[in-house]
């Protein structure tokens, strides 16, 4: 992937990228902030997915749960994105050769597609199952996929420092 390689390499040579990379504490603190924002994002996504599966938070209608949690999920996503992108910006060549980094990126795209598919297909019929004790198959599928995909994102993200398969 020459264009991607060139882009990552170009970023790695930028003065701000080098400055963050060479700072002793910036990256560790970014990592900490990334984990805290992950809790906000993934924690509230899990709560919504459990509701979609029909096994958690069932006393609240789905549309209300979704409406109330959405701003916090977006805040968590924005914070995760800012901290994560800065981490990638600060040391792109380390991530370029890392299989877990690319696994995480790919699975995040799949999780995004899952969320969009739910929003544009299953959510249209929300009024027919909003307060029911069971949720339709489409909702269960989105909930299960959401939990599995975000769990893979978290696991592969945590494994990035371990470059078992890295070929330097």
């Amino acid at each position: 992937m020459q264009p991607v390689h060139d882009l990552f390499f170009w970023v790695s040579e930028l003065p701000t990228s080098i400055a963050i990379r060479e700072s002793l504490l910036f990256s560790p603190y970014l990592t900490v902030a990334h984990v805290v924002s992950m809790c906000l994002f993934a924690g509230l996504i899990v709560m919504m997915d459990l509701r979609l599966l029909g096994i958690g938070n069932m006393s609240t209608p789905f549309s209300e749960l979704q409406k109330r949690l959405f701003p916090w999920q977006m805040l968590g996503m924005a914070m995760s994105a800012v901290t994560g992108l800065t981490l990638a910006y600060s040391d792109p060549m380390r991530f370029y050769v890392n299989i877990f980094f690319w696994t995480k990126m790919l699975v995040m795209v799949l999780a995004g597609i899952n969320a969009m598919a739910f929003h544009f297909i299953t959510y249209n019929s929300v009024l027919t199952w909003d307060s029911r004790a069971t949720t339709p198959f489409g909702a269960k599928l989105s909930g299960a996929l959401g939990m599995v995909l975000w769990a893979i994102v978290i696991v592969s993200g945590r494994l990035i420092p371990y470059n078992w398969f890295q070929n330097n």
Partner: protein, 155 residues
């Protein structure tokens, strides 16, 4: 005395086995984070309701009752995946200030959860008091998370 125990814990066969494998410890770390998300979600959905941001058509007690099993499951998962990490790293973690900050904050967080927060959850109206309780709860568990991550980075 405690130092001796921590040193001994690091010598247990199971601790040695975890340390001898290149993938067991990282895998446990990664799963620990998945349980963290579950725990944090169950905690925050109730804390947000205490702050008056949550599902306002339901009482805090109803939101909390729904979230509790998932929060407890998350906590048990965190303990189950946290202990092996401690065992493998016992003698180093004994000297990590962040490890002890984390333990003190967990102790405070659990006592707070089972006393003040539990009582406040029964209140039907959002008040200044319920907001303070929600904020303290979020701050304490965020502190646990921050110190936990710092153990790994600076130990």
């Amino acid at each position: 005395m405690l130092e001796g125990f921590f040193n001994q814990m690091g010598q247990w066969p199971v601790s040695q086995a975890i340390g001898a494998s290149i993938w067991i410890y990282p895998t446990i770390q990664a799963i620990h984070l998945v349980f963290l998300a579950l725990f944090a979600g169950g905690m925050m959905i109730t804390d947000l309701r205490l702050l008056g941001f949550g599902m306002r058509s339901k009482t805090t007690a109803e939101v909390a009752r729904d979230a509790r099993p998932w929060m407890v499951a998350g906590f048990l998962g965190l303990v189950a995946t946290g202990l092996p990490q401690l065992m493998q790293n016992a003698s180093r973690e004994y000297f990590s200030e962040f490890f002890w900050y984390k333990m003190y904050l967990i102790a405070f967080g659990l006592i707070f959860l089972l006393t003040v927060r539990r009582k406040m959850i029964q209140a039907t109206e959002t008040s200044a008091a319920s907001k303070v309780v929600g904020l303290i709860s979020m701050a304490v568990w965020t502190g646990v998370t921050i110190n936990a991550r710092l153990i790994g980075l600076f130990t």
